[in-house]
Symmetry: C2
Subunit: 286 residues, 2 copies
Amino acid sequence: MTIHFKHIAIIGVGLMGSSFALALKKKGFKGRITGIGRNKKNLIKAKRLGIIDNYSTSHAEGIKDADLILLAVPVGQFEAIVGNIRGGIKKGAIVTDVGSVKALIVKKIEPLMPEGVHFVGAHPIAGKECSGISCASADLYRNARCIITPGPNTNKNALKTIIALWKAVGSKTLLMKPEAHDMIYASVSHMPHVAAYALVNGIMKADGKILPYGGRGLRDMTRIALSPPGLWRDICACNKKNILKSLKKFSSSISHVTGLIERSDWDGLEKEFIRAQEARKLLGSD
Amino acid sequence: MTIHFKHIAIIGVGLMGSSFALALKKKGFKGRITGIGRNKKNLIKAKRLGIIDNYSTSHAEGIKDADLILLAVPVGQFEAIVGNIRGGIKKGAIVTDVGSVKALIVKKIEPLMPEGVHFVGAHPIAGKECSGISCASADLYRNARCIITPGPNTNKNALKTIIALWKAVGSKTLLMKPEAHDMIYASVSHMPHVAAYALVNGIMKADGKILPYGGRGLRDMTRIALSPPGLWRDICACNKKNILKSLKKFSSSISHVTGLIERSDWDGLEKEFIRAQEARKLLGSD
């Protein structure tokens, strides 16, 4: 597929934004990519590396004439940024995002769109625990699932374009209602991130010096605790109810195994472990 | 270092046992390795692959004339096996293990040693979520930490030999009291395994169909839930008190973040995340 945009503005030149730019260029995108951010040094570096073609530290300036605007900053910043740029968005442009929460974003961002500008929410299930352009990769989105979350007001053509765009960078697209997305990802991503941070803190509470004794299992299990705290704070704030529900299910699951161990119910414990092992196989390994 | 044993008997030809055999052969071990287990098909396969030189489905038979006996079965089986073979162990032989718990093992196995036979406990911090000889690797122990846990009764020469043996297969050896080992590994390995199984079950409880939506973060975090349930049941039974203590610290850490989210204390939550991120850096990434 050819990507027909002439000018793409990426707000937030971090891991997600710059990987998107790299992926577009790898797929032969011939248009112009403007990177927008607050950190000029980072933008200069991104340009020098050929990730973006121009840059601007001004949102209003950077998005001028853009046919596509990608929001790739922490979700907590979306509303203020869109409120700030909305007057300058070109008619016919599409605004999209890579945020990990969707319902609140769609609810807040959609009404801010000027006439003739369409918002389509998206959440590529790709990421790394490291952040910034030094971790960026043209292949980050390849073979990754990308959830696209149209609502009743989503423009059909804009939706088609966004689906085609993510397919072009190699993602497997999947449509989902924003609310369904947030419920599912609270359980399979947001809560596990919170749990990973809590696991590290729980171990540190036991003894501040023992963490380095951990092996590969612990490294794997806590790797996502290296994720940017500000980003995950925003996600928790935007998907609070679902994350709390999911945390409660996890807590009760922890209480359950704790009880089995307390009662020395080893058969019961092994059954729990077998159930988890069987279920985990659904995720595959890599 | 040359490994001076003539005959090594490995009880349990799974991931740990066969990786140990492969590592010895890679390091030029010229003696004979007997694999002992209940599954004859597995033993035949191990011999065909050159992992072991002979095999026996009889413990008593297989350990005859062995200078070194390695226990590489789940820790719950140690006592019965050693009770069974102790009459036939050659004078001067060393019995060692790769078990993930140490205090109870040392306490139970040491008194079973006949005169002139020495037990030295060891716990190589290496493993994979997959089990069996098909996952075995000559490099499993290379650059891995190996905790060796002498007690007051441990024979000094046997200890030296076991240290040299693990160094020979490339491990970084570290001496620790069995009790200290169990306290530390309850927090950095045993509890996280229990938590990983509980995490999978917690997500399944929320909705039995959503697990496959998880991305790399969830795959990493729950990978150890693929570990053999029977093995981890035994570990929980043998290190019950420490694991319960550690589970309680983790639970309270989960309650704490849950409370912060409930109260929408986003600054407090971000601080927790930052604390965890900083601590996690101590573990390194790979």
